[in-house]
């Protein structure tokens, strides 16, 4: 058995991506695709909001990620297709069933000249898992993800040499490369000297951009990191400008006062694309929007003694069949969304496409009747809806979905709430038995596990806990270190989750950007952040 596992580990080792060693610095090109570029240009990028923090430990939500990932990098990078590629680590591999080894990139320095090495990684692991704060004399921060709680099976880490780190676990952890690798690395000496407040206010990373000025709620200015180890941006300066209003962002782009805008409303995109001075590009995102339905047993929420009304799989499946997702994608998102029946985002590692839920109101009625919900005893749904949080298209979609559910006999009460109220209801477990909510979830990790763990432990977004057989399968995906075998398990789990239908899958977001035609080689990532490495500005 052990020999068999060793051979699998060896196979995995051989198939894992290995990158070339650090590349020597080269003279930046003066042309791109035959077009003369301006290496000293400043690119102004308009975003809807400013970040609230720059210390990655505090949180990496969608807006914040955009800022933080310009300055900081993790061990594992991501390419334009969303695939994991070497970042600050050249390679990563399991060296035994319970040990992962990261080979670090040599010659990398932080913006202040501090070298990146194994000591940096150990310090960061201490911060991730809240260890040795006394030893470091470091203030703890309230982190969005509690590594020590979420990944309690990570037991210790060690330095093998200056550029090799091993992480040990108490059980096989096939996604360790992802949850540790995607977390940005901060400098050790700088953080110890300036404290976490210093790190938050004046961040110093290894990334392609150095932050040089931050006017809160207004703008952040970056300068190219000329000592960057990888493909650097081909322009000198970048400013992230906060412009909260979508129409104002578009006006600023059309006036030529900004070079790129994010979050273009779907129905504005075609008009912008017709302007010869502009380009419109888009990419699927890891934002999956769903209806979460109360399928919790009565001992898992503040129930008043009643099980969730949606515990019956047939009911949840019926609601999936009642939604015309193609119409939503076309009419509300103008094609800038995907109907995805898999519980995993289409751009995640391990995603397996699943058969779409057909739009079949007749079958939906039949399933509801089989579950005991007929015209004389209709199914009721109190649907919480966080208005003005996910954008105008989401706000238009939710009432449309409610109407589709009404068409199959569900009595829907739509209750707009502010996002904080929704979070509180979900976190305290105070949904009524016939309750549900419309919400979107995203993540910073690449692996499918990021999505599939949604139904493993009772959490804010888990209102349909895995039944024992799915829990076993899920556990198997978390213990299988052999990559091909694990991919098969992941695909199997996605198929079974699709059939079990824990949520009503609505759409996966496609993010739309508009940019000046002078901006060359900008490719949107299927990630929360933008990447300007290799991007140039026409002279």
């Amino acid at each position: 058995m052990i020999r068999h596992r060793r051979s699998l580990i060896l196979l995995l080792l051989l198939t894992w991506p290995l990158a070339a060693a650090g590349q020597p610095a080269i003279t930046p090109p003066r042309t791109v695709d035959g077009v003369a570029i301006d290496p000293d240009a400043e690119l102004v990028v308009a975003l809807a909001d400013d970040t609230t923090n720059m210390d990655p430990r505090i949180g990496m939500g969608s807006i914040r990620s955009n800022y933080i990932r310009q300055v900081f990098e993790g061990l594992v990078d991501v390419d334009a297709q969303g695939r994991p590629v070497p970042g600050l680590a050249l390679s990563w591999k399991p060296v035994s069933e319970l040990t992962w080894e990261f080979a670090l990139r040599r010659g990398v320095t932080f913006h202040d000249g501090e070298p990146f090495n194994a000591d940096t990684v150990l310090f960061n692991l201490d911060r991730f898992f809240r260890r040795n704060f006394d030893k470091w004399g470091l203030k703890d921060v309230l982190a969005a993800t509690s590594f020590e709680k979420t990944y309690p099976f990570v037991t210790r880490w060690e330095k093998v040499d200056d550029y090799t780190v091993r992480v040990h676990t108490s059980e096989p952890a096939p996604t360790l490369w992802d949850f540790i690798g995607r977390e940005p690395m901060v400098p050790r000496a700088y953080t110890l000297k300036n404290g976490v407040d210093g790190l938050n206010d004046r961040p110093v990373g290894t990334g392609p951009w150095k932050m040089v000025e931050w006017k809160r709620k207004t703008s952040m200015v970056f300068e190219r990191n000329d000592a960057y180890w990888g493909t650097a941006p081909l322009f000198r300066k970048m400013r992230f400008q906060t412009i909260p209003e979508g129409a104002a962002r578009i006006a600023a782009l059309r006036a030529g006062q900004v070079g790129l805008i994010e979050g273009v409303p779907p129905f504005d995109a075609p008009a912008l694309a017709q302007d010869a001075r502009l380009k419109v590009v888009s990419s699927p995102q890891k934002l999956s929007c769903r209806l979460y339905l109360n399928a919790r047993p009565k001992d898992k929420y503040d129930s008043g003694g009643k099980d969730g009304l949606f515990a019956d799989q047939r009911v949840r499946l019926a609601l999936n069949l009642a939604i015309n997702k193609d119409a939503i994608v076309k009419k509300i998102f103008n094609g800038y969304a995907l109907a995805n029946a898999s519980p995993v985002a289409s751009v995640s590692y391990g995603y397996a496409a699943q058969e779409a839920y057909p739009y079949d109101p007749a079958r939906a009625r039949t399933l509801l009747a089989e579950a005991g919900f007929r015209d004389t005893n209709p199914l009721t749904l109190q649907l919480l809806f966080p208005a003005k949080h996910y954008g105008q298209s989401f706000d238009e979609m939710t009432p449309a979905v409610a109407e589709m559910l009404k068409d199959v006999g569900v009595q829907v009460t739509l209750k707009p709430v502010d996002f904080a109220t929704l979070l509180q209801t979900a976190s305290k477990g105070t949904l009524p038995p016939n309750g549900g909510f419309a919400a979107c979830r995203t993540g910073n990790n690449l692996d499918a596990d990021d999505y599939l763990r949604d139904w493993a432990a009772i959490a804010m977004i888990n209102w349909a806990p895995y039944p024992p057989e799915l829990m076993s399968l899920y556990t198997a995906t978390r213990r299988e270190v052999d990559a091909p075998k694990r991919l098969k398990l992941l695909a199997d789990l996605q198929r079974q989750v699709r059939d079990w239908a824990p949520v009503v899958a609505l759409y996966q977001e496609v993010k739309v950007y508009a940019l000046s035609a002078r901006v060359l080689r900008f490719a949107p990532l299927p990630e929360l952040n933008m990447d300007f490495r290799g991007v140039a500005v026409k002279r």
């Binding site: 309230l142 979420t150 104002a248 006036a255």
Partner: protein, 307 residues
């Protein structure tokens, strides 16, 4: 006068205590900020631990007493979202951005209103009066976000970037947001001055002044306007309060880094310390402005005595 000022200062302390206490309890009625700070897959135990770390698990009266002890020192705590001193954040947005914008809009709305309102009253039912009333109606009825966007489209896009579409820091940046913010108060002031002037121009002392052979301009601006301006002072005081505190839509459209948007963003984010510090500063501004308005009455109308 001294007694008046002392009494008003005492009133101010009670008003501010009432405001900070009300806001302290009201924001807590809106719920718990902790779910914002943790991952969406966080368990109830993790959320409970986060609440403890923020001190939100303590009894409400303990939190309130702590808060009251800190307020006189200007310490409103640390922003839950940004981890920075809340009062520092509010003051950074108040000065210069909010004050600059409010002062410019106040200047525009009063300086332009005086000649327009006077001309409208002295040319009652004439072309100038009709144009002025129509323009006032138009400016008052237009939603400020729409006016702002139209000005951006005109001056930043169609006229080839004559004025910047967003941002702050120079006079050019200030023009469009100040004009947008000044539009509604300007219209209001024009109408107030017009109606005040129409009333005053009928008074005996105006007739006497004219009978004395004083120049018409002197009669209007020295004798009539001074009396017609009293309601304008009251409204301007309130308008300035609105401009300082409630210009959030203009700040959003023009990406102006003012205080209004800071507070409005803090409310859905349940950033209690920032809301408390912001409301305290607003209350202080309103109390101060009311006092200034009362003092101004004595300057404009010598019959008014403050006791």
């Amino acid at each position: 006068m001294r007694a008046f000022l002392l009494r008003r200062a005492l009133h101010a302390v009670f008003v501010l205590w009432g405001v900070v206490s009300a806001v302290f309890f009201l924001v807590r009625l809106t719920g718990d900020p902790t779910p914002f700070l943790v991952d969406q897959t966080a368990t109830q135990q993790e959320i409970a631990e986060a609440r403890t770390r923020l001190g939100l698990d303590r009894a409400l009266h303990v939190q309130y007493l702590d808060f009251l002890r800190s307020v006189p020192r200007g310490d409103f705590g640390t922003s839950i979202r940004e981890k920075r001193p809340a009062m520092q954040m509010v003051l950074e947005h108040l000065w210069p951005a909010t004050v600059e914008l409010a002062a410019a809009a106040l200047l525009l709305s009063t300086i332009l209103a005086i000649p327009l309102g006077v001309a409208s009253a002295t040319h009652k039912n004439g072309a100038v009066d009709h144009a002025s009333r129509l323009a006032s109606l138009f400016l008052q009825s237009m939603p400020s976000f729409w006016l702002g966007l139209m000005l951006i489209l005109l001056f930043a896009v169609e006229l080839g970037g004559l004025l910047p579409a967003f941002g702050s820091g120079s006079l050019r940046h200030l023009i469009l947001p100040a004009v947008t913010l000044a539009a509604a108060p300007l219209a209001q002031n024009v109408r107030l001055i017009r109606s005040g002037m129409l009333e005053v121009l009928q008074q005996d002392y105006v007739r006497t002044a004219r009978a004395k052979g004083l120049a018409e301009r002197f009669v209007i601006y020295r004798h009539a306007l001074r009396n017609a301006a009293i309601p304008v002072i009251t409204v301007t005081g309130l308008s300035l309060g609105f401009m300082l505190s409630g210009a959030v839509i203009i700040e959003t459209v023009f990406s102006w880094p003012g205080m209004g948007r800071l507070i409005v963003q803090a409310v859905p984010g349940r950033d209690f310390p920032v809301i408390q510090a912001g409301v305290f500063v607003f209350a202080l501004i309103f109390v101060g402005l009311n006092l200034i308005v009362d003092l101004l009455y004595t300057v404009v109308d010598p019959r008014v005595r403050l006791t």
